[in-house]
Assembly symmetry: C2
Homo-oligomer: 312 residues x 2
Protein backbone atom coordinates (compact mmCIF):
# COMPACT_ATOMS: atom_id res chain seq x y z
CA UNK A 1 0.00 0.00 0.00
CA UNK A 2 1.21 3.49 -0.81
CA UNK A 3 2.16 5.48 2.25
CA UNK A 4 1.14 9.10 2.76
CA UNK A 5 4.63 10.34 1.92
CA UNK A 6 4.68 8.27 -1.30
CA UNK A 7 1.41 9.91 -2.32
CA UNK A 8 2.74 13.33 -1.30
CA UNK A 9 5.84 12.77 -3.46
CA UNK A 10 3.65 11.77 -6.42
CA UNK A 11 1.51 14.87 -5.94
CA UNK A 12 4.54 17.20 -5.74
CA UNK A 13 6.02 15.71 -8.89
CA UNK A 14 2.74 16.07 -10.77
CA UNK A 15 2.41 19.65 -9.51
CA UNK A 16 5.88 20.36 -10.86
CA UNK A 17 4.71 19.17 -14.30
CA UNK A 18 1.58 21.29 -14.20
CA UNK A 19 3.39 24.43 -13.07
CA UNK A 20 6.18 24.00 -15.62
CA UNK A 21 3.57 23.48 -18.36
CA UNK A 22 1.75 26.66 -17.37
CA UNK A 23 4.95 28.70 -17.28
CA UNK A 24 6.20 27.29 -20.58
CA UNK A 25 2.93 28.18 -22.29
CA UNK A 26 3.29 31.74 -21.03
CA UNK A 27 6.99 32.21 -21.74
CA UNK A 28 7.45 30.15 -24.87
CA UNK A 29 10.91 29.02 -23.75
CA UNK A 30 11.43 25.38 -22.80
CA UNK A 31 12.72 24.46 -19.35
CA UNK A 32 15.93 22.50 -19.08
CA UNK A 33 15.47 19.34 -17.02
CA UNK A 34 18.09 17.69 -14.82
CA UNK A 35 17.32 14.51 -12.94
CA UNK A 36 19.79 13.83 -10.19
CA UNK A 37 20.58 11.20 -7.64
CA UNK A 38 21.64 12.13 -4.13
CA UNK A 39 24.70 10.15 -3.01
CA UNK A 40 23.07 9.67 0.44
CA UNK A 41 19.78 8.41 -1.03
CA UNK A 42 16.91 9.53 -3.24
CA UNK A 43 17.11 12.27 -5.81
CA UNK A 44 15.16 14.83 -7.70
CA UNK A 45 14.27 16.60 -10.88
CA UNK A 46 15.30 20.21 -11.35
CA UNK A 47 13.72 22.29 -14.09
CA UNK A 48 15.16 25.66 -14.94
CA UNK A 49 14.31 28.25 -17.54
CA UNK A 50 17.04 30.83 -18.17
CA UNK A 51 16.84 33.94 -20.35
CA UNK A 52 13.22 33.46 -21.32
CA UNK A 53 10.98 36.12 -22.79
CA UNK A 54 9.06 36.68 -19.55
CA UNK A 55 11.33 35.02 -16.98
CA UNK A 56 14.96 35.92 -16.50
CA UNK A 57 15.34 32.81 -14.36
CA UNK A 58 12.68 30.36 -13.27
CA UNK A 59 13.47 27.27 -11.25
CA UNK A 60 10.97 24.58 -10.30
CA UNK A 61 12.53 21.80 -8.30
CA UNK A 62 11.12 18.46 -7.15
CA UNK A 63 13.03 16.29 -4.75
CA UNK A 64 12.49 13.14 -2.72
CA UNK A 65 15.51 12.33 -0.60
CA UNK A 66 16.33 10.03 2.29
CA UNK A 67 19.27 10.30 4.62
CA UNK A 68 20.68 10.72 8.09
CA UNK A 69 20.49 14.05 9.87
CA UNK A 70 23.70 15.52 11.22
CA UNK A 71 23.36 15.78 15.03
CA UNK A 72 22.74 19.55 15.15
CA UNK A 73 20.01 19.18 12.55
CA UNK A 74 18.40 16.25 14.42
CA UNK A 75 18.39 18.30 17.63
CA UNK A 76 16.78 21.32 15.96
CA UNK A 77 13.67 19.49 14.71
CA UNK A 78 10.71 17.95 16.55
CA UNK A 79 10.53 14.16 16.89
CA UNK A 80 13.25 11.57 17.31
CA UNK A 81 15.68 9.61 15.19
CA UNK A 82 18.34 10.51 12.67
CA UNK A 83 16.85 8.84 9.56
CA UNK A 84 14.65 11.10 7.47
CA UNK A 85 12.81 11.31 4.19
CA UNK A 86 11.92 14.68 2.72
CA UNK A 87 9.95 15.35 -0.42
CA UNK A 88 8.70 18.57 -1.89
CA UNK A 89 8.40 21.08 -4.64
CA UNK A 90 10.19 24.39 -4.43
CA UNK A 91 10.06 27.17 -6.97
CA UNK A 92 11.34 30.68 -7.44
CA UNK A 93 10.41 32.70 -10.53
CA UNK A 94 12.36 35.86 -11.31
CA UNK A 95 10.75 37.75 -14.20
CA UNK A 96 12.61 40.12 -16.49
CA UNK A 97 10.26 43.04 -16.00
CA UNK A 98 10.48 45.07 -12.79
CA UNK A 99 6.69 45.40 -13.07
CA UNK A 100 6.20 41.65 -12.61
CA UNK A 101 6.74 40.35 -9.06
CA UNK A 102 9.11 37.56 -8.16
CA UNK A 103 7.30 34.65 -6.55
CA UNK A 104 8.36 31.76 -4.35
CA UNK A 105 6.41 28.67 -3.34
CA UNK A 106 7.31 25.49 -1.57
CA UNK A 107 5.26 22.52 -0.42
CA UNK A 108 6.89 19.61 1.34
CA UNK A 109 6.58 16.67 3.68
CA UNK A 110 9.32 15.60 6.05
CA UNK A 111 9.28 12.37 8.03
CA UNK A 112 11.73 11.24 10.66
CA UNK A 113 11.50 8.07 12.70
CA UNK A 114 8.77 9.15 15.13
CA UNK A 115 7.04 12.06 13.43
CA UNK A 116 6.12 13.54 10.06
CA UNK A 117 4.73 16.90 9.01
CA UNK A 118 3.86 19.15 6.09
CA UNK A 119 5.28 22.61 5.55
CA UNK A 120 5.18 25.18 2.84
CA UNK A 121 3.65 28.34 1.54
CA UNK A 122 3.79 30.91 -1.20
CA UNK A 123 4.86 34.54 -1.10
CA UNK A 124 5.09 37.43 -3.53
CA UNK A 125 7.97 39.90 -3.94
CA UNK A 126 6.92 42.83 -6.10
CA UNK A 127 9.34 45.62 -7.05
CA UNK A 128 6.53 48.15 -7.41
CA UNK A 129 3.46 48.06 -5.24
CA UNK A 130 0.22 47.24 -7.02
CA UNK A 131 -2.54 46.84 -4.47
CA UNK A 132 -4.77 44.87 -6.81
CA UNK A 133 -1.96 42.34 -7.42
CA UNK A 134 -1.37 42.01 -3.70
CA UNK A 135 -5.08 41.58 -3.06
CA UNK A 136 -5.46 38.97 -5.81
CA UNK A 137 -2.50 36.90 -4.55
CA UNK A 138 -3.61 36.97 -0.92
CA UNK A 139 -7.30 36.48 -1.73
CA UNK A 140 -6.56 33.40 -3.82
CA UNK A 141 -4.78 31.70 -0.95
CA UNK A 142 -7.31 32.98 1.59
CA UNK A 143 -10.14 31.40 -0.38
CA UNK A 144 -8.26 28.09 -0.59
CA UNK A 145 -7.50 28.18 3.16
CA UNK A 146 -11.01 29.22 4.19
CA UNK A 147 -12.51 26.16 2.49
CA UNK A 148 -10.65 24.06 5.06
CA UNK A 149 -10.84 26.23 8.17
CA UNK A 150 -11.18 29.98 8.52
CA UNK A 151 -8.59 30.11 11.30
CA UNK A 152 -5.85 29.01 8.90
CA UNK A 153 -5.33 32.03 6.64
CA UNK A 154 -4.80 34.71 9.31
CA UNK A 155 -2.39 32.41 11.16
CA UNK A 156 -0.38 31.46 8.08
CA UNK A 157 -0.41 35.02 6.71
CA UNK A 158 1.07 36.27 10.01
CA UNK A 159 3.59 33.42 10.02
CA UNK A 160 4.65 34.36 6.50
CA UNK A 161 5.18 38.00 7.57
CA UNK A 162 7.29 36.80 10.52
CA UNK A 163 9.35 34.41 8.44
CA UNK A 164 10.22 36.48 5.35
CA UNK A 165 11.66 39.35 7.37
CA UNK A 166 15.20 40.75 7.26
CA UNK A 167 15.85 41.96 10.83
CA UNK A 168 19.08 43.75 9.86
CA UNK A 169 17.12 45.83 7.33
CA UNK A 170 13.85 46.14 9.25
CA UNK A 171 12.14 45.09 6.01
CA UNK A 172 10.04 42.21 4.73
CA UNK A 173 11.41 40.37 1.71
CA UNK A 174 8.12 40.95 -0.08
CA UNK A 175 4.44 41.36 0.65
CA UNK A 176 4.02 37.82 1.98
CA UNK A 177 1.29 35.31 1.38
CA UNK A 178 1.05 32.14 3.47
CA UNK A 179 3.69 30.13 5.33
CA UNK A 180 3.41 27.20 7.72
CA UNK A 181 5.60 24.43 9.03
CA UNK A 182 5.35 21.35 11.26
CA UNK A 183 1.69 20.96 10.30
CA UNK A 184 0.63 17.81 12.12
CA UNK A 185 3.58 18.01 14.53
CA UNK A 186 2.67 20.85 16.85
CA UNK A 187 2.92 23.58 14.20
CA UNK A 188 3.70 26.94 15.82
CA UNK A 189 4.96 25.41 19.06
CA UNK A 190 7.63 23.44 17.22
CA UNK A 191 8.72 26.62 15.42
CA UNK A 192 9.09 28.55 18.66
CA UNK A 193 6.04 30.68 17.86
CA UNK A 194 3.23 31.41 20.32
CA UNK A 195 0.77 28.52 20.19
CA UNK A 196 -2.43 29.43 18.36
CA UNK A 197 -5.76 27.59 18.36
CA UNK A 198 -5.26 24.64 16.06
CA UNK A 199 -7.54 23.44 13.34
CA UNK A 200 -8.95 19.88 13.43
CA UNK A 201 -7.32 19.32 10.03
CA UNK A 202 -3.91 19.36 11.71
CA UNK A 203 -4.69 16.24 13.73
CA UNK A 204 -5.65 14.27 10.64
CA UNK A 205 -2.76 13.78 8.19
CA UNK A 206 -5.17 13.07 5.30
CA UNK A 207 -6.99 16.34 5.83
CA UNK A 208 -3.68 18.16 6.16
CA UNK A 209 -2.58 16.65 2.85
CA UNK A 210 -5.89 17.80 1.28
CA UNK A 211 -5.16 21.29 2.53
CA UNK A 212 -1.60 21.32 1.16
CA UNK A 213 -2.89 20.12 -2.22
CA UNK A 214 -5.51 22.87 -2.23
CA UNK A 215 -2.77 25.48 -1.89
CA UNK A 216 -0.54 23.85 -4.50
CA UNK A 217 -3.46 23.61 -6.91
CA UNK A 218 -4.18 27.35 -6.79
CA UNK A 219 -0.59 28.52 -7.17
CA UNK A 220 -0.83 29.29 -10.89
CA UNK A 221 -4.21 30.98 -10.37
CA UNK A 222 -2.65 33.20 -7.73
CA UNK A 223 0.35 34.22 -9.82
CA UNK A 224 -0.24 33.99 -13.57
CA UNK A 225 -2.97 36.66 -13.83
CA UNK A 226 -0.55 39.12 -12.20
CA UNK A 227 2.16 38.28 -14.73
CA UNK A 228 -0.27 38.57 -17.61
CA UNK A 229 -1.47 42.03 -16.70
CA UNK A 230 2.02 43.49 -16.01
CA UNK A 231 4.37 41.78 -18.48
CA UNK A 232 3.72 44.07 -21.45
CA UNK A 233 4.54 47.33 -19.64
CA UNK A 234 7.89 48.85 -20.67
CA UNK A 235 10.45 49.76 -18.05
CA UNK A 236 13.25 52.26 -17.56
CA UNK A 237 16.89 51.79 -16.53
CA UNK A 238 16.04 53.25 -13.14
CA UNK A 239 13.29 50.66 -12.67
CA UNK A 240 15.68 47.86 -13.66
CA UNK A 241 18.29 49.16 -11.21
CA UNK A 242 15.73 49.23 -8.42
CA UNK A 243 14.72 45.65 -9.28
CA UNK A 244 18.38 44.56 -9.03
CA UNK A 245 18.83 46.32 -5.68
CA UNK A 246 15.76 44.53 -4.35
CA UNK A 247 17.15 41.27 -5.75
CA UNK A 248 20.20 41.97 -3.60
CA UNK A 249 17.86 41.92 -0.61
CA UNK A 250 16.40 38.64 -1.88
CA UNK A 251 19.92 37.17 -1.88
CA UNK A 252 20.54 38.52 1.62
CA UNK A 253 17.40 36.82 2.93
CA UNK A 254 18.06 33.50 1.25
CA UNK A 255 21.68 33.22 2.36
CA UNK A 256 21.38 34.76 5.83
CA UNK A 257 18.00 33.46 7.03
CA UNK A 258 16.21 30.99 4.78
CA UNK A 259 15.72 27.68 6.57
CA UNK A 260 15.20 25.77 3.31
CA UNK A 261 18.59 26.92 2.03
CA UNK A 262 20.31 26.06 5.31
CA UNK A 263 18.50 22.68 5.47
CA UNK A 264 19.62 21.87 1.94
CA UNK A 265 23.23 22.87 2.43
CA UNK A 266 23.47 21.08 5.82
CA UNK A 267 21.97 17.86 4.49
CA UNK A 268 24.41 17.79 1.55
CA UNK A 269 21.68 18.69 -0.90
CA UNK A 270 22.38 19.43 -4.55
CA UNK A 271 23.90 22.91 -4.45
CA UNK A 272 22.74 24.02 -7.91
CA UNK A 273 19.15 23.04 -7.12
CA UNK A 274 19.22 24.83 -3.76
CA UNK A 275 20.81 28.03 -5.05
CA UNK A 276 18.74 28.22 -8.22
CA UNK A 277 16.55 30.48 -6.04
CA UNK A 278 19.14 33.24 -6.46
CA UNK A 279 18.46 35.76 -9.23
CA UNK A 280 20.64 35.91 -12.34
CA UNK A 281 21.73 39.41 -11.34
CA UNK A 282 21.72 41.33 -8.09
CA UNK A 283 23.08 44.68 -7.03
CA UNK A 284 24.31 46.41 -3.90
CA UNK A 285 24.85 50.17 -3.71
CA UNK A 286 26.25 51.67 -0.54
CA UNK A 287 23.56 53.43 1.53
CA UNK A 288 20.98 53.58 -1.24
CA UNK A 289 17.75 55.44 -0.50
CA UNK A 290 14.91 55.89 -2.99
CA UNK A 291 13.80 59.46 -3.71
CA UNK A 292 11.13 60.90 -1.45
CA UNK A 293 7.68 60.40 -2.94
CA UNK A 294 8.92 57.96 -5.61
CA UNK A 295 7.19 54.64 -6.39
CA UNK A 296 10.37 52.95 -5.09
CA UNK A 297 9.89 54.65 -1.73
CA UNK A 298 6.23 53.60 -1.69
CA UNK A 299 7.30 49.98 -2.16
CA UNK A 300 9.94 50.23 0.57
CA UNK A 301 7.48 51.76 3.03
CA UNK A 302 5.07 48.90 2.38
CA UNK A 303 7.86 46.40 3.12
CA UNK A 304 8.52 48.19 6.42
CA UNK A 305 4.93 48.35 7.60
CA UNK A 306 3.09 45.40 6.02
CA UNK A 307 -0.66 45.33 5.44
CA UNK A 308 -3.76 43.20 5.42
CA UNK A 309 -3.43 42.73 1.66
CA UNK A 310 -6.41 40.41 1.19
CA UNK A 311 -8.71 43.12 2.53
CA UNK A 312 -6.84 46.11 1.09
Amino acid sequence: METLIDRAAAYFQDLQDRIVDGLTRLDGTPFRQDTWVRPGGGGGRTRVLSDGSVFEKAGVNFSDVVGEFRPEMAAALPGQGTRFRATGISLVLHPRSPHVPTVHANFRRLERETLGWFGGGADLTPYYLQRDDARHFHQTFKTACDRHDSILFPRFKAWCDDYFFLPHRGESRGIGGVFFDYLGAGAEAAAGRPAAPQSPIEHDPERTFDFVRALGDVFLDAYLPIVERRMAAPWTDLERRWQLLRRGRYVEFNLLYDRGTVFGLRTDGRVESILMSLPTEARWEYDHHPDAGSPEETMLKALRTGSDWAGS
Copy 2:
Protein backbone atom coordinates in the same frame (compact mmCIF):
# COMPACT_ATOMS: atom_id res chain seq x y z
CA MET B 1 47.82 56.78 30.14
CA GLU B 2 46.69 55.46 26.79
CA THR B 3 45.68 51.82 26.92
CA LEU B 4 46.73 49.29 24.29
CA ILE B 5 43.28 49.31 22.73
CA ASP B 6 43.29 53.13 22.55
CA ARG B 7 46.60 52.96 20.69
CA ALA B 8 45.31 50.18 18.45
CA ALA B 9 42.25 52.30 17.59
CA ALA B 10 44.50 55.27 16.75
CA TYR B 11 46.66 53.04 14.55
CA PHE B 12 43.65 51.57 12.70
CA GLN B 13 42.23 55.03 12.06
CA ASP B 14 45.56 56.31 10.75
CA LEU B 15 45.92 53.21 8.57
CA GLN B 16 42.48 53.94 7.12
CA ASP B 17 43.72 57.43 6.13
CA ARG B 18 46.87 56.08 4.54
CA ILE B 19 45.08 53.36 2.58
CA VAL B 20 42.35 55.72 1.39
CA ASP B 21 45.01 58.23 0.31
CA GLY B 22 46.86 55.56 -1.67
CA LEU B 23 43.68 54.35 -3.38
CA THR B 24 42.50 57.89 -4.16
CA ARG B 25 45.83 58.71 -5.79
CA LEU B 26 45.47 55.62 -7.97
CA ASP B 27 41.79 55.97 -8.86
CA GLY B 28 41.40 59.74 -9.02
CA THR B 29 37.90 59.53 -7.54
CA PRO B 30 37.31 60.86 -4.02
CA PHE B 31 35.90 58.60 -1.33
CA ARG B 32 32.66 59.53 0.37
CA GLN B 33 33.03 59.68 4.15
CA ASP B 34 30.32 58.88 6.71
CA THR B 35 31.03 59.17 10.40
CA TRP B 36 28.47 57.36 12.46
CA VAL B 37 27.58 56.79 16.08
CA ARG B 38 26.45 53.41 17.31
CA PRO B 39 23.33 53.68 19.49
CA GLY B 40 24.86 51.12 21.91
CA GLY B 41 28.19 53.01 22.19
CA GLY B 42 31.13 54.14 20.09
CA GLY B 43 31.04 54.63 16.36
CA GLY B 44 33.08 54.69 13.23
CA ARG B 45 34.07 56.26 9.97
CA THR B 46 33.07 54.56 6.73
CA ARG B 47 34.75 55.57 3.49
CA VAL B 48 33.37 54.34 0.20
CA LEU B 49 34.32 54.95 -3.40
CA SER B 50 31.64 54.00 -5.94
CA ASP B 51 31.95 53.99 -9.72
CA GLY B 52 35.59 55.00 -9.78
CA SER B 53 37.89 54.64 -12.77
CA VAL B 54 39.74 51.64 -11.29
CA PHE B 55 37.38 50.55 -8.52
CA GLU B 56 33.75 49.69 -9.07
CA LYS B 57 33.27 49.74 -5.30
CA ALA B 58 35.87 50.22 -2.60
CA GLY B 59 34.99 50.37 1.07
CA VAL B 60 37.43 51.10 3.88
CA ASN B 61 35.79 51.12 7.27
CA PHE B 62 37.12 52.10 10.68
CA SER B 63 35.12 51.41 13.81
CA ASP B 64 35.58 51.57 17.56
CA VAL B 65 32.50 50.36 19.37
CA VAL B 66 31.58 49.35 22.90
CA GLY B 67 28.59 47.31 23.94
CA GLU B 68 27.08 44.28 25.59
CA PHE B 69 27.28 40.89 23.92
CA ARG B 70 24.06 38.98 23.42
CA PRO B 71 24.30 35.73 25.43
CA GLU B 72 24.97 33.44 22.43
CA MET B 73 27.78 35.74 21.28
CA ALA B 74 29.29 35.90 24.79
CA ALA B 75 29.24 32.08 24.97
CA ALA B 76 30.93 31.66 21.59
CA LEU B 77 34.05 33.71 22.43
CA PRO B 78 36.94 33.05 24.82
CA GLY B 79 37.07 34.96 28.11
CA GLN B 80 34.32 36.17 30.40
CA GLY B 81 31.92 39.07 30.71
CA THR B 82 29.32 40.64 28.47
CA ARG B 83 30.88 44.12 28.07
CA PHE B 84 33.15 44.49 25.06
CA ARG B 85 35.08 47.01 23.05
CA ALA B 86 36.05 46.24 19.47
CA THR B 87 38.09 48.40 17.16
CA GLY B 88 39.43 47.70 13.71
CA ILE B 89 39.81 48.49 10.07
CA SER B 90 38.06 46.44 7.45
CA LEU B 91 38.29 46.91 3.71
CA VAL B 92 37.07 45.27 0.54
CA LEU B 93 38.11 46.62 -2.86
CA HIS B 94 36.22 45.45 -5.94
CA PRO B 95 37.94 46.69 -9.13
CA ARG B 96 36.15 47.21 -12.41
CA SER B 97 38.53 45.09 -14.46
CA PRO B 98 38.26 41.31 -14.28
CA HIS B 99 42.05 41.30 -14.60
CA VAL B 100 42.48 43.08 -11.26
CA PRO B 101 41.84 40.95 -8.17
CA THR B 102 39.40 41.86 -5.43
CA VAL B 103 41.13 42.20 -2.08
CA HIS B 104 40.00 42.09 1.53
CA ALA B 105 41.88 43.02 4.68
CA ASN B 106 40.88 43.43 8.28
CA PHE B 107 42.87 44.18 11.43
CA ARG B 108 41.15 44.46 14.76
CA ARG B 109 41.37 44.25 18.52
CA LEU B 110 38.56 42.98 20.70
CA GLU B 111 38.50 43.22 24.48
CA ARG B 112 36.00 41.77 26.85
CA GLU B 113 36.11 41.93 30.63
CA THR B 114 38.81 39.31 31.22
CA LEU B 115 40.62 38.97 27.91
CA GLY B 116 41.65 40.83 24.79
CA TRP B 117 43.10 39.73 21.47
CA PHE B 118 44.07 40.80 17.97
CA GLY B 119 42.71 39.27 14.81
CA GLY B 120 42.90 39.99 11.13
CA GLY B 121 44.51 39.19 7.84
CA ALA B 122 44.47 39.95 4.15
CA ASP B 123 43.45 37.79 1.22
CA LEU B 124 43.31 38.11 -2.55
CA THR B 125 40.48 37.06 -4.87
CA PRO B 126 41.62 37.09 -8.50
CA TYR B 127 39.27 36.30 -11.37
CA TYR B 128 42.11 35.09 -13.57
CA LEU B 129 45.11 33.32 -12.17
CA GLN B 130 48.41 35.21 -12.45
CA ARG B 131 51.08 33.31 -10.57
CA ASP B 132 53.35 36.34 -10.27
CA ASP B 133 50.52 38.34 -8.63
CA ALA B 134 49.83 35.48 -6.22
CA ARG B 135 53.51 35.17 -5.39
CA HIS B 136 53.94 38.92 -4.85
CA PHE B 137 50.92 39.13 -2.51
CA HIS B 138 51.93 36.10 -0.44
CA GLN B 139 55.63 37.01 -0.40
CA THR B 140 54.91 40.51 0.87
CA PHE B 141 53.03 39.16 3.87
CA LYS B 142 55.51 36.32 4.35
CA THR B 143 58.37 38.81 4.57
CA ALA B 144 56.45 40.92 7.10
CA CYS B 145 55.60 37.82 9.18
CA ASP B 146 59.10 36.33 9.02
CA ARG B 147 60.61 39.47 10.58
CA HIS B 148 58.66 38.61 13.73
CA ASP B 149 58.81 34.81 13.75
CA SER B 150 59.17 32.35 10.89
CA ILE B 151 56.52 30.04 12.35
CA LEU B 152 53.83 32.68 11.80
CA PHE B 153 53.40 32.77 8.01
CA PRO B 154 52.83 29.05 7.34
CA ARG B 155 50.34 28.91 10.23
CA PHE B 156 48.41 32.00 9.18
CA LYS B 157 48.51 31.05 5.49
CA ALA B 158 46.95 27.67 6.33
CA TRP B 159 44.40 29.34 8.62
CA CYS B 160 43.44 31.67 5.76
CA ASP B 161 42.94 28.72 3.41
CA ASP B 162 40.73 27.04 6.03
CA TYR B 163 38.70 30.14 6.73
CA PHE B 164 37.94 31.47 3.24
CA PHE B 165 36.49 28.20 2.02
CA LEU B 166 32.97 27.51 0.71
CA PRO B 167 32.25 23.91 1.77
CA HIS B 168 29.06 23.72 -0.34
CA ARG B 169 31.12 24.55 -3.45
CA GLY B 170 34.34 22.77 -2.49
CA GLU B 171 36.13 25.98 -3.48
CA SER B 172 38.20 28.66 -1.79
CA ARG B 173 36.89 32.22 -2.07
CA GLY B 174 40.22 33.27 -3.51
CA ILE B 175 43.90 32.41 -3.31
CA GLY B 176 44.24 33.36 0.35
CA GLY B 177 46.96 35.25 2.13
CA VAL B 178 47.09 35.39 5.92
CA PHE B 179 44.39 35.06 8.58
CA PHE B 180 44.56 34.81 12.36
CA ASP B 181 42.31 35.37 15.32
CA TYR B 182 42.46 35.32 19.13
CA LEU B 183 46.14 36.29 18.97
CA GLY B 184 47.11 36.61 22.62
CA ALA B 185 44.11 34.57 23.79
CA GLY B 186 45.02 31.03 22.85
CA ALA B 187 44.87 31.61 19.08
CA GLU B 188 44.07 28.37 17.24
CA ALA B 189 42.73 26.63 20.33
CA ALA B 190 40.07 29.30 20.82
CA ALA B 191 39.06 28.95 17.17
CA GLY B 192 38.64 25.19 17.44
CA ARG B 193 41.72 24.57 15.30
CA PRO B 194 44.49 22.11 16.19
CA ALA B 195 46.91 23.85 18.55
CA ALA B 196 50.18 24.77 16.82
CA PRO B 197 53.49 25.78 18.40
CA GLN B 198 53.01 29.37 19.48
CA SER B 199 55.34 32.25 18.93
CA PRO B 200 56.69 34.22 21.92
CA ILE B 201 55.15 37.34 20.38
CA GLU B 202 51.70 35.99 21.23
CA HIS B 203 52.38 36.15 24.96
CA ASP B 204 53.39 39.79 24.80
CA PRO B 205 50.57 42.11 23.72
CA GLU B 206 53.03 44.84 22.70
CA ARG B 207 54.88 42.49 20.36
CA THR B 208 51.58 41.21 19.00
CA PHE B 209 50.54 44.79 18.31
CA ASP B 210 53.90 45.37 16.54
CA PHE B 211 53.20 42.34 14.38
CA VAL B 212 49.67 43.49 13.48
CA ARG B 213 51.02 46.92 12.54
CA ALA B 214 53.68 45.31 10.36
CA LEU B 215 50.95 43.56 8.34
CA GLY B 216 48.78 46.65 8.12
CA ASP B 217 51.76 48.73 7.00
CA VAL B 218 52.54 46.45 4.03
CA PHE B 219 48.96 46.14 2.77
CA LEU B 220 49.31 48.74 -0.01
CA ASP B 221 52.70 47.28 -0.99
CA ALA B 222 51.10 43.86 -1.34
CA TYR B 223 48.15 45.02 -3.45
CA LEU B 224 48.83 48.21 -5.42
CA PRO B 225 51.61 46.83 -7.68
CA ILE B 226 49.18 44.11 -8.80
CA VAL B 227 46.53 46.69 -9.64
CA GLU B 228 49.04 48.86 -11.48
CA ARG B 229 50.26 46.09 -13.74
CA ARG B 230 46.77 44.73 -14.62
CA MET B 231 44.49 47.77 -14.74
CA ALA B 232 45.24 48.86 -18.30
CA ALA B 233 44.42 45.51 -19.93
CA PRO B 234 41.11 45.51 -21.85
CA TRP B 235 38.49 42.87 -21.14
CA THR B 236 35.70 41.07 -22.97
CA ASP B 237 32.04 40.56 -22.09
CA LEU B 238 32.83 36.94 -21.29
CA GLU B 239 35.51 38.01 -18.84
CA ARG B 240 33.12 40.49 -17.20
CA ARG B 241 30.47 37.77 -16.91
CA TRP B 242 32.96 35.41 -15.28
CA GLN B 243 33.93 38.16 -12.84
CA LEU B 244 30.26 38.64 -11.90
CA LEU B 245 29.74 34.89 -11.41
CA ARG B 246 32.77 34.81 -9.08
CA ARG B 247 31.36 37.84 -7.27
CA GLY B 248 28.26 35.73 -6.69
CA ARG B 249 30.53 33.29 -4.85
CA TYR B 250 31.98 36.21 -2.88
CA VAL B 251 28.44 37.10 -1.77
CA GLU B 252 27.77 33.47 -0.87
CA PHE B 253 30.83 33.34 1.36
CA ASN B 254 30.17 36.65 3.09
CA LEU B 255 26.51 35.96 3.86
CA LEU B 256 26.75 32.23 4.61
CA TYR B 257 30.07 31.95 6.46
CA ASP B 258 31.90 35.19 7.21
CA ARG B 259 32.28 35.64 10.97
CA GLY B 260 32.88 39.39 10.66
CA THR B 261 29.54 39.82 8.90
CA VAL B 262 27.72 37.67 11.44
CA PHE B 263 29.48 39.46 14.34
CA GLY B 264 28.46 42.82 12.93
CA LEU B 265 24.84 41.89 12.32
CA ARG B 266 24.50 40.18 15.73
CA THR B 267 26.00 43.09 17.64
CA ASP B 268 23.64 45.54 15.94
CA GLY B 269 26.43 46.99 13.84
CA ARG B 270 25.83 49.56 11.12
CA VAL B 271 24.35 47.50 8.29
CA GLU B 272 25.60 49.66 5.41
CA SER B 273 29.16 49.52 6.76
CA ILE B 274 29.03 45.75 7.24
CA LEU B 275 27.52 44.99 3.85
CA MET B 276 29.68 47.44 1.91
CA SER B 277 31.83 44.31 1.38
CA LEU B 278 29.28 43.11 -1.18
CA PRO B 279 30.08 43.90 -4.82
CA THR B 280 27.98 46.38 -6.81
CA GLU B 281 26.92 43.57 -9.11
CA ALA B 282 26.85 39.79 -8.80
CA ARG B 283 25.51 37.02 -10.96
CA TRP B 284 24.23 33.47 -10.60
CA GLU B 285 23.73 31.14 -13.55
CA TYR B 286 22.28 27.70 -13.01
CA ASP B 287 24.92 24.97 -13.18
CA HIS B 288 27.59 27.10 -14.82
CA HIS B 289 30.82 25.37 -15.84
CA PRO B 290 33.74 27.11 -17.55
CA ASP B 291 34.92 25.62 -20.85
CA ALA B 292 37.56 22.90 -20.64
CA GLY B 293 41.03 24.35 -21.00
CA SER B 294 39.83 27.96 -20.61
CA PRO B 295 41.52 30.50 -18.30
CA GLU B 296 38.29 30.47 -16.26
CA GLU B 297 38.70 26.74 -15.69
CA THR B 298 42.36 27.25 -14.70
CA MET B 299 41.24 29.74 -12.06
CA LEU B 300 38.54 27.41 -10.76
CA LYS B 301 40.96 24.49 -10.51
CA ALA B 302 43.35 26.64 -8.49
CA LEU B 303 40.49 27.50 -6.10
CA ARG B 304 39.78 23.80 -5.67
CA THR B 305 43.33 22.70 -5.03
CA GLY B 306 45.19 25.65 -3.48
CA SER B 307 48.93 26.13 -3.65
CA ASP B 308 52.00 27.34 -1.86
CA TRP B 309 51.75 30.68 -3.65
CA ALA B 310 54.73 32.34 -1.97
CA GLY B 311 57.02 29.66 -3.38
CA SER B 312 55.21 29.15 -6.69
